[in-house]
């Protein structure tokens, strides 16, 4: 029997495990997940409320007053603030250096298409964008299918990396592993020097090392003598993979039981209490008992919610009722990139301020079941969940851990 069982290994699940450790270092914590969650595809920066101008937390407090059912409102502004502070501290311990100094202001990063995004907190790879200067040089690898520096705008260079065998069908992760080798970094810097001219900074696709990211950044910066920064790539996301790997190591080192690749089939309840979950395993389902469970399996994308062509949406493990629109015609607007987003982004389960998911009667489904992350419904009319993806995950995870560890 574990003290706390967390389902899901995205931003919400992983940080819930880390937060729980900080709260109760001796607690028995288990994290079970079907696979690596959202970090593997998302850019790896931390969006709290991308559209906020000025103090981001003040903007979140304003959102809370306008949308009392919003996940931020249910978790509460103090939970967000504490979560950000603790996450920044843990991320520094794992070498990724997300910053969250107050007052928190959104910061500018570049994308591969020359667009500007404004998340609240960045890992070290993206931080150099602040010193990009007037003449950033965008660097790509000749023939590589996953980054085209000409589309980033401004000046660019295509260099031929020292990879002799099939330099094309490489994933971002493959490139990152090459960059982990100092000789490779130096060769890249050497090839780049003739293109530098009066560049004020150098931007690479986000592949600058996996296990030795900080050293890679340092090596390149020293060799090129200008700020170096990364641009998000097509998935797999290397910055997200660094975070996943870092948190995984962090949790394992502190004796959290981590089972990734184990899909949970269903929850087991005894009246108004969850007694554990059944994991789909060879032969027969495997039961894991727990005093409290945090469900952080994500939304329709993440894999916590399911849908069919009849327009039904359901939660897969505990059968928690989902708040959604039954008319499938209404799920998406006509344009994919419609600035208003889509109704489907807002579907999710309802919860109270303890993060207990609510049944059809509006009462908690079970006293020791909690939710965190984007499995939670976002009210229609609230800003797109995309612009607060990680902030919501952290705040709700923090609040769910607070509630879950108060269980007898």
């Amino acid at each position: 029997m574990d003290d706390l069982l967390i389902i899901g290994a995205g931003w919400a699940g992983l940080s819930a495990a880390a937060f729980a450790l900080h709260r109760q270092p001796n607690a028995k914590i288990r994290l079970i997940a079907q696979g690596i969650g959202s970090p593997i595809v998302t850019p790896g920066w931390l969006s709290v409320l991308d559209s906020a101008k000025g103090d981001v937390l003040a903007a979140v407090r304003d959102l809370i007053t306008r949308h009392p059912d919003h996940p931020y409102a249910l978790a509460g502004a103090p939970a967000l603030e504490s979560a950000l502070r603790l996450f920044a501290q843990i991320s520094t311990e794992i070498g990724l250096g997300y910053r969250a100094e107050l007052p928190l202001h959104n910061t500018h990063v570049f994308t591969a298409l020359g667009a500007s995004q404004t998340p609240a907190s960045l890992p070290i790879g993206y931080q150099g964008a602040a010193q990009a200067g007037a003449q950033p040089l965008f660097v790509g690898f000749a023939g590589w299918r996953d980054y085209y520096p000409a589309l980033s705008g401004g000046r660019f260079a295509l260099i031929t990396p020292p990879i002799s065998n099939r330099p094309w069908d490489l994933t971002p992760t493959d490139y990152a592993r090459h960059f982990d080798q100092p000789a490779f970094c130096e060769a890249v810097a050497h090839a780049l020097k003739p293109h530098l001219n009066d560049a004020t900074s150098v931007a690479f696709p986000a592949v600058l090392g996996l296990a030795h990211h900080a050293e890679t950044l340092q090596t390149l910066q020293t060799a090129l003598d200008v700020p170096v920064f990364e641009l998000p790539t097509l998935p797999p996301s290397v910055p997200g993979t660094r975070l996943f790997n870092g948190l995984r190591r962090y949790l394992l080192d502190r004796r959290v039981r981590l089972q990734v690749g184990h899909p949970v089939g269903c929850g087991v309840l005894d009246g108004k209490r969850v007694v554990g979950v059944e994991v789909i395993a060879a032969g027969k389902p495997q039961f894991f008992g727990a005093k409290a469970v945090i469900l952080a399996t994500g939304n329709l994308y993440g894999g916590g919610l399911f849908s069919d062509d009849y327009g039904r949406v359901w939660e897969g493990i505990f059968g928690i009722p989902v708040q959604y629109t039954a008319d499938r015609q209404q799920w998406f607007n006509a344009h994919m990139l419609d600035e208003r987003g889509h109704a489907v982004h807002h579907f999710g389960v309802r919860a109270n301020t303890h993060m207990q998911p609510l049944g059809a009667d509006g009462e908690p489904l079970a006293e020791n079941l909690f939710v965190a992350g984007h499995i939670m419904a976002h009210p229609i009319g609230a800003p797109s969940p995309f612009e607060m993806a990680e902030g919501v995950a952290l705040a709700t995870a923090y609040r769910a851990v607070e509630s879950a560890l108060m269980q007898p």
Binding site: T111, L113, D169, Y301, D327, F332, L337, H342
Partner: protein, 540 residues
């Protein structure tokens, strides 16, 4: 706007679908000077928006014997002259509960009357050939259906016509039809890519604009009665069957299942609409298709729906016939109108020499073209016989032998495995390499869109629906065609929206997850600008 250039020809054909391309070839082969004008790319109207079935005629055997006879005659001819556009899957008509057994003797008699060969198949044999078939099928007959690649067919027709001097102008819109002395004398076209005007002087005009035929006729002052009958089709990512399956019952919704390449297409519906460009796909029609397909293939829904599209059947609906129709009528369901075609003359409005083609279907394109070409020749006083039924169409270099029994991926896989330097996959779902993409871009005119490239290469047509390859293709397009970054990015934004339009009615389950992933990539990782509708309209 540039000054109009002019072109002289004997016949102007309007519409680059199977009918128009068929007329272009037929007349060019008879020695006439022919120009074809198409407002978009060729085969992008009804011809490119159907399920891919070369009919045996069985579907029309009971209710529309005239169409049925045309189908079986033309089926044999198309197999002979254009085997490379076909996949000789064969077809079955199968009855499942609750289909009415009483229909079967009528159907068999109808097939016999028009010469459609049928062969009874036992259930045991059927399940051996198609293990996914619903074992409750109680009567199965084999007919000579085939799957037809309409893009390949129409492209082949325009290429064959080019060898006889036939000119195809795609992306040319008709601005006006010109008349003098009671006769049609030509038309003014606009090149939609650069806005240039082209004046075509022609002795005769063939209006083969399909669903847009009414609009073209109106330019000549004529009012033709057409019914726009929309049918939707849904492609699944599993090729559930190797044989075309038709319901052995009165034609209805969702009763044709066609294996096409790597996918399987279920069609179709029949809803009368007002405008030829109303191609919206209601979610409930998709669900209706899946329900119907499950009657034939019980596991059908377990596959992932990849793409839904709608085509508009340009059916002829003369007012006098509508009044005289006792039962059934036209009403909501366009299926009661004959699928045969009519050629309407417009001499009564001072446009002698212009013929509007309404009705018909892809399977019978050649016969339609022959009849139209005969009339045109008669009008022009030209004596020349049709030779399209005897003349094989040019075959691509990869095609050998006489028929393609079943689809295989081996052509592209073979290329890939034997030319490792081509191993740079841009579209992983449909196996499109960078070399192929670059070659297609270089072979295309300036201003080629990613959607044009998609039609050539199948780029972005797999499960990810351009989530990954869209950005890559935009990057390669920019590098190869030397585009300014803003143009490559605009091309990407347009392509994303075009893909989403067909994907949107299919967003549930895994395909919905895929769309959310794609959206995350575009919105967050790449920051693709959202299209400004006005800007889009002017660049279109």
């Amino acid at each position: 706007m540039q000054a109009a250039t002019s072109l002289n020809c004997d016949v102007l054909v309007i519409g680059g679908g199977a009918t128009g391309a068929g007329v272009l070839l037929d007349l060019a082969q008879r020695g006439l000077r022919v120009v074809l004008a198409e407002q978009n790319d060729i085969a992008t109207g009804t011809s490119g928006r159907y399920h891919g079935l070369l009919h045996s005629g069985g579907r029309y055997a009971v209710r529309d014997p005239e169409s049925a006879r045309e189908c079986i005659e033309e089926n044999a001819i198309v197999r002979r002259i254009a085997p490379h556009t076909l996949e000789d899957t064969g077809g079955w008509f199968a009855a499942f509960p609750p289909d009415d057994p009483e229909y079967i003797p009528h159907w068999l008699a109808g097939c016999k009357a028009v010469g459609i060969p049928t062969e009874s198949v036992t259930l045991a044999q059927a399940l051996k050939e198609e293990p996914h078939l619903n074992p409750k099928a109680y009567a199965i007959y084999r007919v000579p259906d085939a799957a037809c690649d309409s893009f390949e067919l129409v492209h082949t027709l325009t290429e064959a016509a080019a060898a006889f001097g036939g000119i195809t102008l795609n992306y040319h819109r008709v601005c006006s039809i010109e008349k003098a002395g009671g006769k049609v004398i030509g038309a003014l076209l606009e090149n939609r890519r650069n806005g240039a005007q082209v004046r075509v002087h022609a002795g005769a005009v063939v209006n083969a604009a399909g669903p847009w035929a009414g609009e073209i006729a109106k330019m000549a002052g004529a009012d033709i009665h057409m019914t726009h009958d929309r049918g939707i089709m849904v492609a699944m990512n599993v090729r559930w069957v190797n044989t075309i399956i038709n319901r052995l019952a009165t034609p209805g919704d969702g009763d044709i299942l066609v294996p096409v390449g790597t996918v399987c297409v279920i069609g179709t519906t029949s809803v009368v609409i007002d405008r030829p460009d109303d191609l919206d796909i209601p979610a409930e029609e998709v669900t209706q298709m899946l329900d119907a397909a499950e009657v034939m293939i019980p596991d059908f829904r377990k596959a992932r729906a990849l793409r839904a599209w709608a085509g508009v059947r340009p059916l002829y609906d003369p007012p006098q016939k509508r009044e005289g129709e006792a039962e059934g009528g036209v009403g909501e369901d366009g299926r009661f109108i004959t699928r045969s075609f009519r050629a309407l003359s417009h001499a009564d409005v001072g446009a002698a020499g212009m013929l509007s083609i309404v009705g018909g279907k892809l399977t019978t394109y050649r016969q339609m073209a022959e009849k139209i070409a005969d009339e045109v020749c008669q009008y022009l006083g030209v004596r020349a016989v049709c030779r399209t039924a005897e003349t094989a169409l040019p075959k691509p270099s990869w095609f050998s032998g006489n028929s393609r029994r079943l689809h295989s991926m081996t052509h592209r896989l073979h290329q890939l495995e034997h030319a490792p330097t081509h191993n740079n996959l841009i579209c992983e779902c449909e196996i499109v390499t960078r070399d192929q993409l670059e070659a297609a871009i270089k072979a295309s005119p300036e201003g080629v869109s990613l959607d044009d490239l998609r039609r050539d290469l199948r780029l972005g047509m797999g499960p990810c629906q351009a989530g990954f390859c869209g950005y890559r293709a935009a990057g390669v397009l920019g590098e190869t065609a030397n585009l300014p970054p803003a143009e490559s990015i605009a091309a990407l934004a347009t392509f994303i929206q075009e893909r989403f339009r067909g994907n949107r009615p299919l967003l549930w389950g895994h395909q919905l997850r895929q769309a959310l992933l794609d959206e995350m990539i575009y919105r967050r990782a790449l920051g693709v600008p959202s299209l400004q509708p006005e800007a889009h309209a002017t660049s279109d």
